[in-house]
């Protein structure tokens, strides 16, 4: 059974094999280039994020997919939902802007809070940080798809599942011609 799986590959000549590897590379590259293209269009370093916690309920639930934009000319306003990074945390946070101070020279500092949390986010920020600034912002929520991101959450909770799925797809693409 396993032998016949690789029959296609064994029968390939050098050029067919190179093409097989390259077409696998192109599938990966296409996904990558679409992602990078979205980054350029939206101005956000991560144009699509998945909500991981229930801290923004009832607006967003765990597993919702958010579309972000981050145009520098659009000012941040109170009430908007921003996605921001905090030093020392890998995963960005999705919360609402609660207070905002804007200076004449254009610099802003703001405070956020999760709709479902009883306190503001100062406890979540880095040690000694009281305000967020523009450089902390990954993007602002512009649209969402409910629960689509659950797949991603399961994949991240069970890394073995993720690697199994990816490995199966990779092997399938590599051993099948056309």
């Amino acid at each position: 059974m396993l032998d016949s799986l690789f029959d296609d590959v064994k029968r390939m000549n050098k050029r067919q094999f190179i093409y097989q590897v390259l077409s696998f590379g192109m599938i990966v590259s296409s996904a990558l280039m679409i992602w990078k293209g979205l980054m350029v269009v939206t101005g956000s370093e991560s144009p699509i994020v998945v909500v991981l916690s229930g801290s923004m309920e009832p607006a967003f639930h765990r597993g919702d997919l958010l579309f972000l934009t981050n145009y520098p000319e659009e000012p941040v306003r109170v009430g908007e939902i921003v996605v921001f990074k905090v030093e020392g945390r890998d995963i960005p946070i999705v919360h609402r802007v609660l207070k905002l101070h804007e200076k004449n020279n254009g610099t802003v500092k703001f405070l956020t809070k999760g709709d479902n949390n009883s306190v503001d986010d100062r406890g979540l920020y880095a040690q000694g940080q009281l305000w967020l600034t523009k450089k902390d912002v990954v993007g602002r929520a512009r649209g969402f798809l409910p629960y689509v991101g659950m797949v991603t959450i399961y994949m991240n909770e069970y890394p073995k599942l993720k690697f199994a799925v990816l490995a199966c797809l990779a092997i399938y693409v590599l051993v099948h011609r056309e």
Partner: protein, 184 residues
């Protein structure tokens, strides 16, 4: 190159696999029995386009890693747009230039250079293998012949290619195209 004697076993109800196996058998006939020299220019062109596209994507990935996003914006714009342009070129190349040609064989007869191009296609859920054989001679004239036969003609019940049937079939087409030329 695999040995021609090596019995390959394929599932002949898998159209793509059967087509690939017969294509390979025909390529062997041209490079082996008919002593033609295979020309790789066409397939190398496609490989080059693919490699370039993957290279562009890798470059974008590396650049974005070294200079995180807002800085890498210009390079990303260039890479992303050239990647999609390359994909377009690749599609045009395979549909209009390659057109399913799986072997280009060159042959010298006297002082005449002849080029043989074999292309094939199989419709989805169909058992008919369509082969188009084109011969171009040195003066730029071309002649073509096509056959449309079921996979069952080339593959036995065990799923092995019957190489001598393929050889006979191709030799017949080869001779008919070659002799047609002499008549004129």
């Amino acid at each position: 190159m695999p040995e021609p004697q090596e019995a390959v076993k394929i599932n002949k109800w898998d159209g793509a696999a059967a087509k690939n196996a017969i294509d390979d058998a025909i390529r062997e006939v041209f490079t082996g029995d008919l002593k033609c020299k295979e020309s790789f220019a066409l397939i190398d062109g496609r490989l080059f386009l693919c490699a370039l596209a993957v290279g562009v994507a890798l470059y974008a990935l590396l650049w974005d890693y070294l200079y995180p996003f807002p800085q890498s914006r210009l390079v990303l714009i260039i890479c992303v747009s050239s990647y999609f342009i390359l994909m377009g070129i690749l599609t045009l190349y395979t549909t209009f230039k390659e057109k399913g040609i799986f072997v280009v064989a060159k042959e010298k007869v006297g002082n005449n250079n002849r080029v043989w191009e074999a292309s094939s296609y199989v419709k989805k859920h169909d058992d008919k293998y369509n082969l188009v054989l084109v011969m171009r001679d040195g003066s730029g004239k071309s002649r073509e012949v096509s056959v449309n036969k079921s996979f069952a003609n080339f593959i036995d019940t065990n799923g092995a290619i019957v190489q001598n049937v393929v050889v006979n079939e191709i030799t017949k087409l080869y001779n008919s195209l070659s002799s047609e030329k002499k008549e004129k």
